[in-house]
C-alpha cells in the first residue's frame, strides 16, 4: 500500500507536455531496443511498421492505435487527441445514465452516431427483484428499439436465462465471444474493466457516463496518449500458475496506483504462450494498478480466436523496436509461485502458502476476471485431481451463457469424459448460477452469492476493497481459479500445488 507513494503522479489528463518533465524521475526509463533473444511474436512477419502512415519516430502500439484513430502520423505520450471510436459498450448500470446525458445534450430525437458501433449488454443486476434494476434494463431495451441498435443482448425472462437466446452475460467476456474485439481498434466502455479487450491488441479503456453520452452523439472522444510501461514475462509457465497469478504479482509489484494514466504492454515468451482468455485476465486487471489500458500484441493465437467471429477487416499494429517505454519490468515466470491479494487491496500481495492458516467461509468463482470457460476448467482440474469434496460453500457464476454451456458440455481432460458441471457436482459445489456479474460487486441485496455476512471469501474476481462483495466487514482474498478451488477443498487459503503435484 505504501508503495503507491513511490509512483509518479500524473496530475491531470488535461496537462500536456508539462508532464513529460515527470519522466525524469523514473530511473528505470528505457529507450533500448528489445533485447536480443526476446524475439516476441510482435516481430511476426505480418508486421508493418508503416501501418499508421510514415513513421518518423518509433511508437508503442498504444501510441500507434491512437494515432490511427485520431488520423495523425505521430503521437507522443501526453498529447491530447480526438479519437474516432470503433466500438462503444455500455451496460445496465451506466447505460441509462449515459442515455440520459445523450438525450439531454443532443436532444430527445437525436440519433446515435452509428447504430452498428454501439454494443449494449445488460449484465450487472439482472437476476434480482429490485425494481429499479429491472427498470434500467427496460430503459436499455426502449433505447435500442428507438435507435435500431444492432447489437443488444437482451433478457426478458428473468426466471430462466436459457429462454433468452440473445442474452449473453458479463459484457467484457461477451464482447470477445461475439467478435466485437479486434486488433488495432479503439473500444470504449462505461466500465472500468473494459481494458480486458486490450488482450486483442487494441486500445480499450473505461469511461464515465458523460463521456459515453458524448461518444453516443459524436463517435469521438478527447483522449490523452498514455506513456507505456512494458512487462516482459519470459519462461515456461509452471502448471500450477494461471494468468491471474501473473497480474496479481505485477500489481503487488507496482501498487494500485503504479500505472495510473499509463498503458501496460505485456510481451515475452510466456505471454505468447497464453490463450486469449488468459490474456484477457492479464489485461482485465490493469485498472487495478490504475492503468489506462493494457495491451498484448496480436498474433496467430489472436487471429485464430477471431476466425468466424468477425467479418470486419482489422489491421494489427505493433510497438516499434525503438519505441520509448517509461519503464520496463522483467519476470522469470518459471520462478513464480501462486499468489493472492489479501484484504482490502488488490496490491496486498502474499504467497498463497503464506496464508495457509487463514480460515475461509466461502469460495466464489466468477466475473469478467475469473468466470470464463478456462477458469472453470482450471477449477475442475483441481477438484478432479483431489477427488475430494469442498469444505466451504463454493459458488460458481459463469460469465456468459456460452460459458455456462461450455461447463455443461466440454469434457475436462483426463476425466474420462466428465464435464465441469459433473465434477463440480461431485465435489459438492453449488449448482452453476445464471450468468451475470453476480456478487463480484455485491449488487442488490438478493444477488446470488452476495456476501451479506462479514465472512472470509477466496474469490477469482478483481477487487477486494471494503464492501466490494456486499458486507463492509467481509474479507476477500483474490486468487486464481486453481487457488480458489484448492482453498474450497481445505477451508483455508491453499496453494494449489497441494493438489496439482
Amino acid at each position: 500500500m505504501a508503495s503507491s507513494l513511490l509512483s509518479p503522479s500524473f496530475t491531470s489528463f488535461l496537462r500536456t507536455k508539462k508532464d513529460l518533465s515527470l519522466y525524469a524521475f523514473s530511473s528505470q526509463r528505457c529507450f533500448k531496443a528489445v533485447p536480443k533473444g526476446i524475439r516476441c511474436s510482435v516481430a511476426a512477419p505480418q508486421r508493418q511498421p508503416s501501418t499508421t502512415g510514415s513513421v518518423r519516430t518509433a511508437m508503442t502500439m498504444t501510441e500507434k492505435i491512437l494515432a490511427r484513430a485520431s488520423e495523425k502520423a505521430q503521437l507522443s505520450p501526453g498529447d491530447n487527441v480526438w479519437v474516432n471510436v470503433d466500438i462503444l459498450m455500455t451496460h445496465d448500470v451506466c447505460g441509462p445514465g449515459s442515455i440520459g446525458i445523450f438525450k439531454k445534450e443532443f436532444g430527445e430525437d437525436a440519433k446515435v452516431w452509428d447504430r452498428e458501433k454501439l454494443v449494449i449488454i445488460p449484465d450487472h443486476y439482472i437476476f434480482t427483484s429490485d425494481e429499479r434494476a429491472n427498470r434500467n434494463v427496460d430503459i436499455l431495451r426502449d433505447f435500442c428499439h428507438e435507435q435500431n441498435i444492432k447489437y443488444f443482448y437482451d433478457i426478458k425472462d428473468l426466471s430462466n436465462f436459457k429462454a433468452n437466446p440473445d442474452y449473453k452475460g458479463v459484457c467484457h467476456v461477451a464482447l470477445a465471444q461475439e467478435g466485437h474485439c479486434r486488433p488495432g481498434e479503439v473500444l470504449l466502455g462505461t466500465d472500468s474493466h473494459t481494458c480486458t479487450a486490450g488482450a486483442f491488441g487494441q486500445f480499450a479503456t473505461g469511461i464515465g457516463n458523460t463521456d459515453a453520452g458524448f461518444v453516443l452523439g459524436t463517435g469521438k472522444l478527447l483522449l490523452k496518449v498514455p506513456p507505456t510501461l512494458r512487462f516482459v514475462m519470459d519462461g515456461e509457465m509452471p502448471d500450477y500458475l494461471l494468468s491471474k497469478d501473473l497480474i496479481l504479482q505485477i500489481i503487488g509489484e507496482i501498487s494500485v496506483a503504479g500505472a495510473t494514466y499509463k498503458a501496460m504492454e505485456f510481451v515475452g515468451t510466456t505471454v505468447e504462450s497464453l490463450t486469449m482468455e488468459e490474456r484477457m485476465t492479464l489485461c482485465n486487471m490493469v485498472v487495478e494498478a490504475g492503468g489506462k489500458n493494457g495491451v498484448v500484441p496480436a498474433d496467430s493465437t489472436t487471429f485464430k480466436y477471431l476466425e468466424g467471429k468477425t467479418s470486419l477487416p482489422y489491421e494489427p499494429v505493433y510497438s516499434d523496436q525503438k519505441a520509448g517505454f517509461l519503464s520496463e519490468y522483467r519476470f522469470d515466470v518459471s520462478k513464480l509461485e501462486p499468489v493472492v491479494a489479501k484484504p482490502h487491496s488488490p496490491d496486498n500481495r502474499a504467497l498463497a502458502r503464506e496464508c495457509k492458516d487463514v480460515k475461509i467461509n466461502r469460495v466464489y468463482i466468477g466475473s469478467c476476471t475469473g468466470g470464463k470457460t478456462e477458469d472453470f476448467m482450471a477449477a475442475a482440474k483441481v477438484f478432479l485431481a483431489s477427488g475430494k469434496k469442498v469444505k466451504v460453500p463454493t459458488f460458481l457464476v459463469p460469465a456468459t451463457q456460452k460459458v455456462w454451456m461450455d461447463i455443461y458440455s466440454i469434457p475436462v481432460p483426463g476425466s474420462g469424459g466428465k464435464t465441469c458441471s459433473q465434477i463440480f457436482e461431485e465435489a459438492g459445489c453449488d449448482t452453476p448460477a445464471s450468468p451475470s456479474c453476480g456478487a463480484c460487486l455485491g449488487g442488490p441485496k438478493d444477488t446470488y452469492a452476495r456476501m451479506n455476512e462479514p465472512q472470509v471469501c477466496v474469490s477469482t474476481t478483481n477487487r477486494n476493497f471494503p464492501g466490494r462483495m456486499g458486507h463492509k466487514e467481509g474479507q476477500i482474498y483474490l486468487a486464481s481459479p486453481y487457488t480458489a478451488a484448492a482453498s474450497a477443498l481445505t477451508g483455508y487459503v491453499t496453494d494449489p500445488r497441494e493438489f496439482l503435484q
Binding site: P96, G97, T190, I207, L441, P444, G467
Partner: protein, 253 residues
C-alpha cells in the same frame, strides 16, 4: 442538475462561488480543452453563441451561474472530512446504489444521500449524519489514489449531490478525475503535501483556487495546492457539455 436551493441547504457553510469570489474581470473565453483546432463536428461557433451573451441563458446549475466570475478566483469555505489512501468507488458509492440513474433528478438527490456510506465503521464520524440527506462537509480531504476502482460516474455525482464542493487529495485514479471534470460535480484538487495527515475531520478550511492554496483555520496552517489548470473552467461551467456550449465549441440550446 444541482439546484441553487440544494446547494444552499446542503452546505450552509459553503460560500457560493459567485458570491465569494473577487472577480478579476477576466473571462475564460477562448479557454479550450484542445490545444489545436477543433474537430469539424464541434465547430459551430456563431456570434450569437458567444458565452458573453449567453450567461443569463444557461442557468441550469450554480456552476453556470458562477461563470460570471473567472473561475480561478473561486473560494470554498467550510468543514472538511478527512479520509485515507485508496478510497475506492465502492466506498464512495456502494454498488447496491448503482441502480440509481444520475441523470434523473430525484435519483441524483438519492445518490447524494449515500455519498461515502461505504466507508468502514472505523470512520466513527459519518460523512452524512443519520437521518440527513446532505453533508455538512464542504470539502473532502484524502490521501493517494482517491477514487480508484470502477468507472462509475455515480461516484463524483454522489459527492457533488451530497453538497461537497471539492476533494483535495494527494493523487487521483484516472477515471474518477476525468468523471469529476466531465460532470463538473466536484473539484478534484491535488495537494502538494499529505493533507490527510495534517487535517482532521471538522477542521474549518478555506480553498482559494486562484492562489492554489488551502488554509486550515483550525490549526492556522496554510498549504500549497497544485493548480487545477484548464480543468477549472470546465468544472466551473458545470461539465464538458456546458463548457463546450459556453465557449462556442458546440451550439447553445
Amino acid at each position: 442538475m444541482k439546484t441553487m436551493a440544494s446547494l444552499f441547504s446542503a452546505t450552509a457553510t459553503v460560500i457560493p462561488r459567485n458570491l465569494a469570489v473577487s472577480s478579476s474581470g477576466k473571462r475564460f473565453v477562448g479557454h479550450s480543452l484542445l490545444s489545436s483546432s477543433s474537430p469539424p463536428f464541434l465547430s459551430f461557433p456563431t456570434p450569437k453563441s458567444n458565452p458573453r451573451n449567453r450567461l443569463t441563458v444557461s442557468l441550469q446549475s450554480p456552476r453556470a451561474q458562477s461563470s460570471a466570475s473567472s473561475s480561478p478566483s473561486a473560494t470554498f469555505h467550510g468543514l472538511c472530512y478527512v479520509v485515507g489512501d485508496n478510497i475506492d468507488t465502492d466506498q464512495i458509492i456502494p454498488a447496491e446504489y448503482l441502480t440509481l440513474v444520475p441523470s434523473k433528478p430525484d435519483e441524483y438527490e438519492k445518490l447524494g444521500s449515500y455519498a461515502l456510506v461505504g466507508l468502514p465503521a472505523s470512520y466513527a464520524t459519518r460523512f452524512i449524519e443519520p437521518g440527513e440527506t446532505k453533508t455538512k462537509y464542504a470539502i473532502v480531504i484524502g490521501g493517494a489514489n482517491f477514487g480508484c476502482g470502477s468507472s462509475r460516474e455515480h461516484a463524483p455525482v454522489a459527492l457533488g449531490a451530497s453538497g461537497a464542493a471539492a476533494v483535495v487529495a494527494e493523487s487521483y485514479a484516472r477515471i474518477f478525475f476525468r468523471n469529476s471534470v466531465a460532470t463538473g460535480e466536484v473539484y478534484p484538487l491535488e495537494s502538494e503535501t499529505r493533507l490527510c495527515e495534517e487535517c482532521r475531520t471538522g477542521d474549518v478550511v478555506t480553498i482559494e483556487l486562484g492562489e492554489s492554496r488551502l488554509i486550515n483555520h483550525t490549526t492556522g496552517k496554510e498549504y500549497r495546492l497544485k493548480p487545477i489548470g484548464d480543468a477549472g473552467p470546465v468544472i466551473e461551467a458545470g461539465g464538458i457539455f456546458a463548457y463546450a456550449r459556453k465557449s462556442g465549441m458546440i451550439p447553445s440550446r
